[in-house]
Symmetry: C3
Subunit: 318 residues, 3 copies
């Protein structure tokens, strides 16, 4: 079976998931992002013309100002024209099918779609449908994947840890409902991290999660023992008063990241979070703002990584 993310030359055609992407593609994106970080931190020239004259459509069937904004900034820094579409309030409410909406946007000369949808597989469906000169980036689909988040996490890890092959990484929290966790696990294993742990109560883990190549811990102290990287997950509000969790306070008691628990990890371990944080639920403020936190650099690197993904898809040479 063909990989829907690669063209016949083995180049990236769409970014839909970190699952199934060769390590070479991941590394190329991280390398290219590294060049943009320098651009982004330079004070004189911060825009590059790599996507000048191209149209990037942010089509968000599910609202996310934060994610949409990072893609918008990345596209503008590449000199693309950006069109933001909140499709929830548009034609689909008039009875038009998803693929008719996509066909219409293609006919408007879109070059790239950034798609966020509450249904797993939506970005794949769109990618399978569009013409070969249109590229699709999955900005989060249901519980399935959020590959640019995982790539910026990988960039952050490489920035601080240099190598992947000697790391112990713990992913902590609601793995069950998290597209971020799935994309992180695939990226980490592809890039050669020898030990990936998931740390969560049983009710927040998928069945057979071990088959993804991870070690399972239900005890936070044990799960963090000697790790190099702690990747926290956001606990979504709607989980907190459901059948899966007794309360936010109870969750923090057992799985909140405190300084005491972090002391189990290596002394140079870094702490990551995809945001937005629930302080006092999954993470203590002293850790979020502490010396080991790299949560804000993640956001900055996210711009560079999205620039790298877009310019890779557009075939842009630097």
């Amino acid at each position: 079976m063909n990989n829907p993310q690669l063209n016949k030359h083995g180049e990236l055609q769409h970014l839909l998931s970190t699952e199934g992407l060769p390590a070479r593609i991941l590394r190329d994106i991280l390398d290219k992002a590294g060049e943009f970080v320098n651009v982004a931190e330079g004070r004189e020239i911060r825009k590059v013309p790599l996507l000048h004259g191209k149209s990037v459509f942010n089509i968000f069937f599910e609202n996310s100002t934060r994610t949409r904004t990072t893609f918008e900034i990345a596209a503008k820094k590449l000199s693309a024209d950006v069109v933001n579409l909140n499709i929830g309030s548009s034609s689909t409410s008039k009875g038009e099918t998803l693929l008719d909406t996509v066909d219409n946007l293609c006919a408007m000369h879109a070059d790239m779609f950034v798609v966020r949808h509450s249904t797993s597989g939506a970005a794949h469906l769109i990618a399978a449908h569009v013409a070969p000169d249109i590229h699709v980036i999955n900005a989060g689909d249901g519980r399935h994947a959020h590959p640019t988040q995982a790539l910026l996490d990988m960039f952050t890890i490489r920035h601080y840890k240099k190598e992947f092959h000697n790391l112990r990484v713990a992913i902590v929290g609601d793995v069950l409902h998290s597209r971020v966790a799935r994309s992180q696990i695939h990226a980490l294993t592809t890039l050669g991290v020898p030990e990936v742990r998931v740390v969560a109560p049983k009710t927040l883990l998928p069945t057979h999660v071990e088959k993804l190549g991870v070690r399972v811990y239900h005890d936070m102290e044990q799960g963090l023992k000697d790790v190099d990287v702690v990747m926290m997950l956001r606990l979504q509000n709607e989980r907190m008063q459901g059948a899966l969790l007794p309360s936010a306070q109870e969750y923090f008691k057992y799985y909140g990241l405190t300084q005491e628990r972090l002391a189990q990890a290596r002394s140079d371990a870094i702490v990551m979070h995809p945001g937005p944080m629930n302080r006092g639920v999954e993470i203590d403020s002293s850790v979020a703002d502490g010396a080991q936190s790299v949560i804000l650099p993640q956001v900055t690197f996210g711009i560079a990584v999205r620039m790298a993904v877009m310019s890779t898809l557009a075939g842009g040479k630097q």
Copy 2:
């Protein structure tokens, strides 16, 4: 009486309606759009600087992501600055009058307004009010007019049929509530189409529609007999369960465009639809996606036609 759409030199000052526009103006816009289609399909340079430094304000008192987006793309391809205003949620809700809102936007150095409003005549009212260096484009007002839709339809017909003077054209569906149909009829007759038909049940036709210069058919097979162009209209959801129509299924049974009915038309007839489509209500999927459908090219041509209208108004030379 002066034509509010032309300046004293007979040049286009505002685009409010296809009614009353000389054929010369319509042809000039189609010719200019033809040049932009080449620009738009070229791969290297797709933006032109004709409106650089100009501000285009999309003021939508009625929400329409699709139409707003096509104008936004067209304006950005002309290098204009685009400001999107959803006025429904803004000052008018604070008690400000429509003309005060317009005065304020003029004072912000708008060069062009693209106006969508649920009240017929709103664009005319605004055009009559603004200073002479500000241009107004009607993007749909009530049941009155939607001239850029009609112009892109004319461009599409000319693209596929080359001439207007030898055509039979059928407009099918809810003519009564359609600003699109009114604008199409005026454009077709002005450009010299000898036979324009409307095909609809009596409840969906305006009284005295014949006075617009069209032939009336209530039977779809007869109405499509030997036509060169089939222009479908969208059936709005709110009509489907009212007093005017028994049901969507019943409508499809008598007025839905199927392959069998389309066979009544000339074998090289083209099928058009302004979108968004209700598949299985006014049009069958096999026709919408069939070889005679030019529905997606309409969308593409719509960008070029809107670029042509904007650059004509701005007096831009190519």
Copy 3:
């Protein structure tokens, strides 16, 4: 105590309030705005590259299409990239703190924030929190301040009256709830206006308003007597049927600006209003549209003044 609006060289670092700003800073902004008015009225080049490559984030926790649009236009005329964020519908609703949201936006390489918030002091809080290379403009916080509105008012007064030191100025209306009035009073007194009056019923005046250096009038005819400038305030709808005011009609009867009342002022007095106007409530249409009204020039000058503030903060030289 340090002035949070100035850097250690005494240059403008943030624009949070007209209170506490030296006259020198105010005059520099007005002078620079004067240069942009010429640019803005020129027909050939209307954009300047002073903020090219900079990112301006409009973060509006309270909706205001009009104010947001003027900042967006000003930023685009300076060639900045503009990102509009309606934060009300975003992360804060997901439980993220205001300062976490701000930290994230900073990490996205924002250069400037334009902040509107319903809570007094929000812009100060953000300014105190961001890194030294990020600038904050208060676009209205609670009842506290709206400095760019006051600055455009000062620009308008200087444009028509040339000098401040010989003026009588009356501010009329709901001073109690008005951030605009507070910012106007501080700017007028700083720029040397010898007589600033407030004209309002007791229920719409702050206690001890005289301490701001103004004279209090409850009678409109007396308050307007011989003034050079009449600055009307907007009466917000929600005040009209509360305990503070019997009705809009009653308000107009005593405090509405009519031609008869305006005749008490000097014959060359100008009439100002920050918009949107309630015609027939605080101002009669004949005055709003009359020869002494400078309400629309205020809007135009507002673009230039916001360009001046942004380019001053960015350290842009012309």
